[in-house]
C-alpha cells in the first residue's frame, strides 16, 4: 500500500464568503436565475394514485366506478368493511382456480 502522506489542511487559511440569507427573496432570485437556463423545479410532486390506508398501510386496487359503487353498497348493506367482500371474492377465486389460500 502507498506510503504517500496527504498534505495538511490549515483551516485558518481557508477563505469563505458571506452568503445570502435564506430569505424568500434570495431563494426566488436564485430560482429565477436558474430557470432562465432551464434549471427548473424537478422535485417529486408527491405520490400519485390512491393513498395507502392510514390504518393498514394497504393500497387498494382501483376498480371501474360501477364496481366500486356496488361493492360499497353491498358492504354497507351487510354492515362490513369492503375488505370482507374482497376476502370472500378472493376465496371464491382460489376455489374456482384450484389455488391454495391461507384462509
Amino acid at each position: 500500500m502507498s506510503e504517500q502522506q496527504p498534505f495538511s489542511v490549515d483551516i485558518g487559511k481557508l477563505r469563505t464568503a458571506a452568503k445570502p440569507e435564506a430569505t424568500s427573496q434570495v431563494i426566488q432570485t436564485s430560482d429565477v436565475a436558474g430557470e432562465r437556463l432551464g434549471f427548473v423545479n424537478r422535485a417529486p410532486k408527491g405520490r400519485g394514485g390512491r393513498q395507502p390506508s392510514p390504518r393498514t398501510g394497504q393500497v387498494h386496487a382501483k376498480t371501474l366506478p360501477h364496481v366500486a359503487e356496488e361493492i360499497s353498497a353491498e358492504a354497507k348493506r351487510r354492515g362490513v368493511v369492503q375488505g370482507v367482500l374482497i376476502e370472500e371474492a378472493w376465496a371464491l377465486y382460489c376455489h374456482q382456480n384450484g389455488l391454495e389460500t391461507g384462509g
Partner: protein
C-alpha cells in the same frame, strides 16, 4: 467555512467520485468535512453504506430543494468544509445549492457532450453571480482522463482555458480504485489493491491539494 458544490447537469460526468475523493482526501489532510448526497441515484450513499465513515467525515443525505439552503447553512460552520454532491439534471436544487457555494466544481469527461452540457453549469454560476451580486468561484475538473489524451479532450481544454475558465490540474485519471470506492467504501488507503494504487492515491492527493489551494487563496486571485 468553505462550501464546495459539485455540479453538472450531465449524468455520469464523475460528480460523486469527485465528491468522495475530495472529502476523503481533505479529511485525511485534517479537515472536518460534511458530505451531502443530494443525488436521487444515491451514489454517495452507496459508498457511505459500505463501511464505517472515515474519520473527519460527516454524511448527510435525503436533502431536497426545499431544505438545501438551510441544510448547507446549518453545517457551514467554523472548522468544517461542506461538499455537496448534486444530481445530474438541470434542477432548482442545483441553482439553490450554487447560491451558497464558495467554489463550484464542474466535473466533465473530455468529450464534446460533457463539455456542452457541463457548460450550462458554468453559465448558471455566472447568472447567479449577477443575480445575487456576489462572486462565486468555479472550476472545471476533467474526469476519467486517460494518460494519452484525445484530440477532442485537448481541444476542449484549450477552449475552456481560452474563455478564462479555471481548469483544475491535475485532472482525475481513470483508475480502477476510484470505481472500487463504491464497492468497498472508506478511502483509497482502505481498498484492497486495485490496479495502479500509487497512481490513484497520488492523483487524488494532488487534486485535493489543487482544490485546497483555491479555497485558501483570495477570490480575486482566482480568475
Amino acid at each position: 467555512m468553505p462550501v464546495i458544490v459539485i455540479a453538472s447537469p450531465k449524468g455520469g460526468a464523475g460528480k460523486s467520485t469527485t465528491a468522495i475523493l475530495l472529502a476523503t482526501e481533505l479529511a485525511l489532510a485534517g479537515a472536518r468535512t460534511v458530505l451531502f448526497d443530494c443525488d436521487p441515484n444515491r451514489s454517495v450513499s452507496i459508498w457511505a453504506s459500505r463501511k464505517k465513515l472515515p474519520k473527519n467525515i460527516e454524511f448527510i443525505n435525503d436533502v431536497g430543494e426545499s431544505e438545501i439552503i438551510r441544510a448547507i447553512k446549518h453545517h457551514d460552520t467554523d472548522g468544517k468544509i461542506v461538499i455537496v454532491d448534486l444530481e445530474g439534471v438541470a434542477s432548482r436544487l442545483v441553482s439553490r445549492a450554487i447560491s451558497q457555494a464558495d467554489l463550484v466544481i464542474t466535473p466533465m469527461r473530455g468529450t464534446t457532450l460533457d463539455a456542452t452540457i457541463g457548460a450550462r453549469a458554468l453559465a448558471l454560476v455566472a447568472e447567479e453571480e449577477e443575480a445575487l451580486g456576489r462572486e462565486i468561484r468555479h472550476a472545471v475538473v476533467f474526469t476519467m482522463t486517460r494518460a494519452i489524451r484525445s484530440n477532442q479532450h485537448k481541444g476542449i481544454e484549450v477552449s475552456l482555458k481560452g474563455q478564462g475558465v479555471d481548469v483544475i490540474d491535475p485532472p482525475l485519471m481513470e483508475r480502477a480504485a476510484y470505481s472500487a470506492l463504491f464497492e468497498f467504501g472508506g478511502n483509497l488507503r482502505d481498498l484492497p489493491p486495485q490496479g495502479n494504487m500509487e497512481g490513484a492515491i497520488s492523483n487524488a492527493i494532488e487534486f485535493a491539494r489543487a482544490v485546497y489551494q483555491r479555497l485558501a487563496e483570495p477570490v480575486e486571485a482566482a480568475a
